[in-house]
Amino acid sequence: MTTLENQIPPTATDFESEQDSMVVPGADGRFGEFGGRFVPETLVPACHELEAGFNEAWADPEFRAELHKVLAEYAGRPSMLTQCHNLSAQLGIRLILKREDLNHTGSHKINNVLGQVLLAKRMGKTRIVAETGAGQHGVASATAAALLGLECKVYMGAVDVERQALNVFRMKLLGAEVEAVHSGSRTLKDAVNEAMRDWVATVGDTHYCLGSVMGPHPYPFMVRQFHRVIGSEARTQCREIYGGDPDVVAACVGGGSNAIGIFSGFIDTKARLIGVEPEGGAAVGRAQPGVVHGMRTYLMQDEYGQVEEAHSVSAGLDYPGVGPEHSYLASIGRAEYPTVNDAEVLEAFVLMARSEGIIPALECAHSLAWIVREAPHIQGQTVLMNLSGRGDKDVAQVMDILK
């Protein structure tokens, strides 16, 4: 494979096949009974404008070609597959990683951000706002804004600002303004609230660059489309390199963008789809529908409907809700959403570093923790795990914990 054309799947056929396998929400933005558009009236016209803008851009071969070009030349796509020979032997399975950690900025988040910022520019916006938990989406947003010449403001919970100081500096270095959010639980959910409040006031010139497959329609759909490249590549790569589809596809789930990206490549295969949630952030695990941040979805809430705080070792998964399409996939039984605890996650984090020489993001260590636990029951099977981010950002935190 030498030319760019050979590395990047042709866009037209991409679009055809996508329509077959995954739900395309109608005007009501629903995935089954989940999703929708529960936003202040001020934002309804902006959501309509974004929906029209996205649909028009996504159907335009020129936009798709521009996106593919920047994904290839700037983000480093396609990302490769790595077979974990040592862990495979240890666990009695064939473990394959989809290396989203090797993308520019160190996680899958760049796929969505480049798509949204290109779209924002096309729609005439001059400024983006974003929320961030671990800082990965904030860094990706700041990066794309720097590349494409837009102003960028990132909202980050005050607790996360402390946990992820290095990423805060990265964002500032990239020219973004970072605002610590002190309201509520001072984590990701409050950063989303604050970004939405900003957007309500600045909707004329500002695009809200939401970082996961969540929020009001069209975000869950649009962000999924931007991350489908993960699944499309992985499907082709698995067939070319290993001669078939994996038996299990595993990914961590906070909002669920990396998971939906890789699931979308295998939704129509026999592969088990596993979205791993942290024990302290098990929105799907509790299976209680609620409405927050513009969407109806499974939501951690108390007996009165007040949204609860999520707690886990990884800031990127500390979200009490989940993307509505995951609620849908769980409700129809197509995907499973087990939980793992912080101790299992830390063990998995160290295990991958020592066995494979790869330091995973703490988020991704959740997927590996489940795989380790499940291994005795899936002996001999091929497991594809989305390694959605690298762990450099987590090293200082883990050092403190393991001291």
């Binding site: 929708g36 558009r37 936003v39 009236e41 309804v44 949204v307």
Partner: protein, 266 residues
């Protein structure tokens, strides 16, 4: 002004009271008070005694996306004190104020309870209307039907960003009055009344005779007077809650009295 639509039902308690007041040349004044905040019931009584035409009572929610820092802070303090929706409604039931009371909260508290159960709870506490700022027209169907059935008036918001074709649909479905959002942004005090406040109110009064009240960013007596030159009345939130937080119920009464006098002097 256009004639009242043939498809609108007979006005409920809020709309009737507001129409009557409007015909008498009175500008409508609706303060917002955070339910469960220390001293809130006394603040409601003080506001009514000082000339409020209705009171909007906030039921605190963990994630109030339409609220700025002042109301967020009041809500959070109430939640930290263990305030629940039912505790607020139990206190509402004991309030004898003689003007319509309107609940303002966020949709998850309704959704969690179930639309019919929540509507019945509000109605049985003596509430006349409800405002849910994160429930736009397209998603409001099930709640509006449940509220209609329980005899509650659901007040819909209209925003400055709405295209012309959207406003008639909002006006058609709203009950009580139409809440004309004063600016692009969340609740909070501003130094001047935004130009969008009077512009949107004018667009609304041109297409309906349902009372039009401006809320969000109406921050003092002077701005209330300015808004009422175009609209039928105002909703005042952050400036009221700040006085409750800083000076207690008496400060709320004094403030509402000042705004009332300014409106009546026009």
């Amino acid at each position: 002004m256009t004639a009242q639509s043939a498809t609108r039902p007979a006005p409920g308690r809020i709309e009737s009271a507001f129409r009557t007041a409007r015909e008498a040349g009175r500008s409508l004044l609706v303060p917002y008070i955070t339910g469960g905040y220390p001293g809130w019931t006394e603040a409601v009584q003080a506001a009514v005694a000082a000339g409020a035409d209705a009171v909007e009572i906030g039921i605190p929610f963990s994630d109030p996306v339409m609220d700025g820092p002042v109301i967020q802070q009041a809500s959070q303090l109430a939640l930290d004190n263990g305030v629940t929706p039912q505790l607020v409604l139990d206190e509402v039931r004991r309030l004898q104020v003689g003007v319509p009371l309107i609940v303002m909260t966020y949709y998850n508290l309704v959704h969690h309870d179930g639309v019919h159960r929540f509507a019945d709870r509000l109605a049985s506490a003596g509430i006349s209307g409800c405002i849910l700022p994160d429930l736009p027209l397209e998603e409001a169907g099930p709640w509006c039907e449940a509220a209609d059935a329980a005899g509650l008036e659901t007040i819909l918001l209209a925003a400055p960003t709405a295209p012309d074709e959207r406003l008639p649909r909002i006006v058609e479905r709203t009950r009580g009055f139409v809440y004309s959002v004063g600016l692009l942004g969340v609740t909070g005090e501003r130094s001047e009344l935004a130009a969008t406040a009077t512009a949107l109110a004018a667009r609304l009064t041109a297409i309906t005779d349902v009372p039009v009240l401006v809320g969000v960013g109406v921050s003092n007596a002077e701005q209330a007077v300015e808004a009422c030159r175009v609209a039928d009345g105002v909703i005042m939130g952050a400036s009221v809650v700040r006085r409750l937080m800083e000076g207690g119920p008496d400060a709320v009464g004094a403030y509402i009295s000042e705004v009332r006098q300014a409106l009546d002097a026009e």
